[in-house]
């Protein structure tokens, strides 16, 4: 049984959410309680599978899974002339890390959502789309096939758009979903052009196969830009970030927390394309600087746009853009010195580790912050900061979770945001001091803006209009508590996390030949 799970974990990871999603409309007929139990069961199984697979990958190295083959390990059919023609899932340490992020956030969000979204109608479709979103994220981060990546990207986009528009909200949510979906459809089509270029040139769709044949011709350069621009747009980097605040602020809070993970899946795709598909064949300095500049722009514009915002979720959405900038900065610095082994050893790997560590940290604390915003909305029915005040008297636990999230995002020790930001600062300082200074200033502005939010929501006397407000329901608090516990644990014990999860992921990302060897065999 254990062997069965181990072998088939990558397939189960998308099969479970898909079966759960398609069965939800039927099971929802029985009763809402049974439906919640069913969705929770599926999500728990998915999370356990993801954790099991991750432990396997971190212990035994990259796992591959071949769909439709008699034997899931048989990447290259005997009569195919050395070409992997089937769809292959390639789960290396980086993919496993992203799966863990998706699974844990998904689980916490679901706990929260079962309590928070109870009041809405049409919850069968809601949870169907939610599970499809999980399937999309899991598929995107584990697939080793470019076209399959596109398909999962579209599954993710369509289900996200449906969920953003879920609370129609006088048309506002639909407007946000419309903008998101127009942009992401065009982006996905552009990605498909890039994939078509690879197929035309190299007659393959498998990432490892294309990587082993990569020439970096003019067409490859165009394909590279088409794909990284589209994925940078999907992860919300400035100046293509315009959909982000709209979508994040209008989606239900539980979905916003998942959208953070969804945009990080796009970020993963960007890193995968740059590091695994091209690696040293591309001009690392140019592309590295492109990613760094996108990152710096995202950091600065994101945080400065956040400060004057009046809607708390819009404000947090701009912070999500700004934090994405840190990840792009860290990994971009790693990319800029790729191929230069001494520099890579001295700060390149640390920068990449910082960027990747920031991905998991950001998913946790930003998810936590969006959930607290949702809890406040659940009780007082507004996101407008000007109408809030004095809630610290009645929502103490929510306030504590908010403080944890806010200090973590601002990079205050001993929370996890500090650990990853410290790694980014010090390694980026070795690369270019100006960038490190910008990163620190952005961090200060982040703190300033969260001081404003904290003051407006929780401080001050108990306002007369919120006299009867109560603490958020317990399942919501549990969902927030899971994320808060991870925020604190990662902050208190950063080095074991870096050694155990982050460093293998960073090295797996930078190690193109290892990835190719895992699929094609031999090096």
């Amino acid at each position: 049984m254990n062997g069965f799970l181990m072998t088939n974990a990558p397939a189960l990871l998308i099969m479970l959410p898909l079966i759960g999603a398609f069965a939800t409309p039927f099971i929802g007929r029985v009763s809402p309680r049974v439906r919640s139990a069913w969705v929770l069961l599926i999500m728990t199984l998915t999370t356990l599978t993801a954790l099991l697979l991750a432990s396997d990958v971190f212990l035994n190295g990259t796992q591959i899974y071949v769909f439709g083959a008699a034997n899931p390990d048989l990447a290259i059919p005997l009569d195919s002339g050395g070409i992997p023609i089937r769809i292959i899932f390639t789960v290396d340490a980086m993919s496993a890390l992203m799966q863990v992020i998706g699974a844990i956030t998904g689980f916490a969000v679901l706990l929260y959502s079962i309590s928070a979204d109870r009041i809405h109608s049409g919850l069968e479709s809601f949870y169907t789309l939610f599970l499809l979103m999980i399937a999309g994220i899991m598929g995107m981060v584990s697939t080793g096939d470019l076209f399959n990546f596109f398909v999962f990207l579209e599954i993710l986009s369509i289900s996200s758009a449906g969920l953003i528009a879920y609370r129609i909200d006088g048309g506002l949510a639909v407007e946000a979903a419309l903008k998101y979906f127009i942009l992401s459809t065009i982006g996905a089509m552009v990605i498909l052009i890039g994939i078509g270029i690879y197929y035309g040139e190299y007659n393959a769709l498998n990432i490892a196969m294309i990587a082993s044949r990569m020439q970096f011709t003019l067409l490859d350069q165009i394909a590279l830009v088409l794909i990284i621009a589209a994925l940078a747009m999907k992860c919300g980097s400035v100046p293509m970030h315009f959909w982000t605040p709209d979508a994040y602020s209008m989606a239900p809070s539980s979905i916003t927390a998942m959208l953070v993970v969804a945009s990080q899946a796009s970020l993963y795709g960007l890193f995968r394309v740059v590091f695994t598909l091209y690696n040293v064949t591309l001009n690392a300095m140019t592309v590295g600087w492109i990613i760094i500049i996108l990152g710096v722009l995202s950091m600065v514009v994101g945080v400065t746009m956040a400060i004057p915002q009046k809607n708390v979720k819009r404000l947090m959405a701009y912070h999500a853009i700004s934090q994405t900038g840190y990840m792009l900065l860290g990994v971009g610095v790693g990319l800029a010195v790729l191929g230069n082994q001494p520099l890579m050893e001295s700060f390149g790997y640390i920068a990449m580790e910082g960027g990747i560590f920031h991905i998991i940290n950001h998913a946790m604390y930003k998810g936590l912050l969006f959930l607290t915003a949702g809890a406040i909305f659940f009780r007082i029915g507004t996101y407008n900061l000007n109408k809030m005040g004095g809630l610290g008297h009645s929502m103490k636990y929510t306030m504590i979770f908010f403080i944890i999230g806010a200090l973590a995002i601002a990079g205050i020790p001993p929370f996890n945001g500090f650990a990853s930001k410290l790694m980014i600062y010090e390694s980026v300082f070795a690369f270019n001091p100006v960038l490190a200074v910008i990163a620190m200033v952005v961090s200060i502005l982040t703190l300033a803006s969260f001081v404003k939010v904290f003051h407006s929501i929780f401080m001050g006397p108990k306002l007369p209009e919120y006299e009867t407000v109560q603490e958020a329901p317990v399942p919501m608090l549990i969902g927030m508590g899971v994320l808060a516990a991870i925020v604190i644990l990662f902050g208190l014990f950063p080095q074991p996390v870096v050694d155990g999860l982050i460093a293998p992921a960073a090295h797996a990302l930078a190690d193109q030949s290892g990835y190719i060897a895992a699929v094609l065999g031999g090096a």
Binding site: P414, L422, S427, P464, Q495
Partner: protein, 116 residues
């Protein structure tokens, strides 16, 4: 088993959250000692715990709280030129958003092809 309490090494330096936590605990103890020296004999619900504003009557609760828009007025005023440019750039029109995206793609293609 890896060392749970290892310092975070950042290439050029290191940082140990537990040392920091220890310092926080020491600071908390000092704060507690100072707090202990304060007046302990006050009673809730008496005039001792009501706000004293130079003898003026206490204003309405809603008036005391400084609302979000009034915070950071100075910062926003100092960076007025920047905000006058950046806020209108977020037009909310989907055509502009697509145009930004396509423009960035085009610019990046030129950059990558020129600087091979």
């Amino acid at each position: 088993m890896m060392d749970l309490f290892a310092s975070l090494s950042t290439g050029t330096g290191y940082w140990n959250p537990l040392a920091w936590l220890l310092a926080t605990v020491v600071a908390a103890v000092i704060v507690y000692l100072i707090w202990r020296r304060g007046e302990s004999g006050y009673k809730k619900g008496t005039i001792q715990t009501t706000p004293f504003i130079s003898g003026n009557p206490e204003p309405d609760k809603g008036m005391v709280h400084i609302r979000a828009s009034n915070l950071y007025w100075g910062y926003l005023d100092a960076l007025k030129g920047y905000y006058d440019f950046i806020v209108p750039a977020h037009t909310g029109i989907v055509n502009d958003y697509v145009l930004w995206y396509l423009g960035v793609t085009a610019a990046l293609i030129i950059v990558v092809v020129v600087f091979v």
